[in-house]
């Protein structure tokens, strides 16, 4: 039972263009969402989060959008840079647990082409 799904295993984007990574969830109890970025041979690093009281959160080039009715969130990276090439994981939890009880998606490998 995959409660958090990232249906695109990989994505390739031209440098300078927008990268859009998608994530769907099934558990209606989830109301806190995070994105992590992972380089090879390193652990995941926190990127950005959003709680269900918002539908958008922005941090520099990274913006996360949340559509609660569709149980869908997306991460936008604008403009994409070669250093953004990594695996991106979507994770979900509930507000009570915060980031202490995370359910991760399978990840999407993003490749930024020069």
């Amino acid at each position: 039972d995959q409660q958090v799904k990232q249906n695109s295993p990989s994505l390739s984007v031209q440098e300078g263009r927008i990268s859009i990574l998608n994530c769907d969830y099934t558990n209606s109890m989830f109301d806190y969402f995070l994105w992590y970025k992972k380089y090879p041979a390193e652990g995941p690093t926190f990127l950005i989060s959003i709680s269900s009281i918002k539908d958008k959160n922005e941090d520099g080039r990274f913006t996360v959008f949340l559509n609660k009715s569709a149980k869908h969130l997306s991460l936008h990276i604008v403009p994409s840079q070669p250093g953004d090439s990594a695996v991106y994981f979507c994770a979900a939890s509930d507000q009570y647990q915060g980031a202490q009880k995370l359910v991760f998606g399978q990840g999407t490998r993003l490749t930024i082409n020069p």
Partner: protein, 112 residues
């Protein structure tokens, strides 16, 4: 500030052998997590500690896996005996609270 330290980084063992992984969390972080990440999947929580207490071990296969966090700092995760399906990356993470988790580089285990 030093990050989460894990050792060893790589381990190759034969099935039925025991193996242990060590984690040193970020100083001052009371919460420590162990995850398993299978190839092509996201991390899955095995156990979470608050100081010395294991507060969530519902996903830990207790027949062969054990963990301890003596003195509420370093932690060890053990598998005995290892099976072929245990081949994965074992990640340790720590957090100061509920905001986010900080991950170590992981231990890549290969069971032959």
């Amino acid at each position: 500030e030093a990050g989460v330290v894990q050792s060893p980084r790589y381990k190759i063992i034969e099935k039925k052998q025991p193996v242990a992984f060590w984690c040193n969390p970020i100083s001052g972080h009371n919460t420590l997590y162990w995850y398993r990440q299978n190839l092509g999947q996201g991390p899955e929580l095995l156990i979470r500690y608050e100081n010395e207490e294991a507060v969530d071990d519902s996903q830990l296969p207790k027949d062969r896996f054990s963990a301890e966090r003596l003195k509420g700092v370093d932690s060890t995760l053990k598998i005995q005996p290892a099976e072929l399906g245990d081949s994965a990356v074992y990640l340790c993470a720590s957090s100061p609270g509920v905001e986010t988790q900080y991950f170590g580089p992981g231990t890549r285990l290969l069971v032959l």
